[in-house]
Amino acid sequence: MSLMIHCDEASRLQSERLDRPLRLSERLALGFHLTMCSACRLFGRQIRAIDETMAELPPEADAHNLPPLPADARKRIEQALETAQAANGNHGGAA
């Protein structure tokens, strides 16, 4: 990788840095670009904040305002579980 990269390459590398370790040549080229480019520096801080915020949300967090399990589905699943339980109950419950 040449030491002179442009904003497109620099922003891509800043994203990839969040997913894999960069090679030395990439780190050098990126570092060089960032010393001169405030737009890319800002982009890098912002996407890192996005990733860190995602990491702070536990997997079951409902920041998405998603709906609850619909009543009919709940009933259906309950029946499926009862059927499975009944099939097993013949063997005396606890193994």
């Binding site: 990269i5 442009h6 904003c7 497109d8 390459e9 922003s11 891509r12 994203s15 990839e16 969040l18 997913d19 894999r20 737009a39 800002l42 982009f43 801080r45 912002q46 996407i47 890192r48 904040a49 996005i50 990733d51 860190e52 915020t53 995602m54 990491a55 702070e56 949300l57 997997p59 079951e60 409902d62 920041a63 998405h64 305002n65 998603l66 709906p67 609850p68 399990l69 619909p70 589905a73 709940r74 259906r76 699943i77 309950e78 499926a80 579980l81 009862e82 499975a84 339980q85 097993n88 419950g93 606890a94 193994a95």
Partner: protein
Amino acid sequence: MQTDGSQIDPRHWLTAHGDVLYRYALKHVRDRVLAEDLVQDALLAAWKARDTFDGRSQERTWLIGILRHKILDYFRRQYRERPAADDVWFDRAADNDRFDDRGTWQRRPGSWDQDPEQAVHDAQFRQALADCVSLLPDAMATAFTLRHDDELDTDDICKALNISSTNLYVILYRARARLRDCLEEHGHGVTHA
């Protein structure tokens, strides 16, 4: 403590965790019927594997773990049969507009109304980010959501989605760039000249 099988009541799982499991599934698959099926599959699998629940981990964490496997299985089956073309993962034309022919920003990224480092701890920012994730195209959101599951590494994701790591990096890059734009556009961020 070893939990006695007779004390496990799967109906209690549904009561206590049904909504959480369903929302977790929905976040990944965005299809209500499919999400319902995945929850059902997961709970039936949990019932079959109830002896492996050691009572040490939280019941909810254990159930989410099983659901996560069901979701990955679903993706694996789907993308193995029909590997997705690049344009399913990102809209090349739309994303290429970001830079001019010389690779310079067409429009410089604007500041948000607070420092990025501060935003991480801001409840409104989190909400705005979640809203923006829900606006991502399906496949892109799938990759991005899986990437932020602590239990998975990039290798797991590539296998499930049947893509190369190079491709995954591009998808994640485009997802982040779009989320950044979205946060700037939807109030979270005032563009300073």
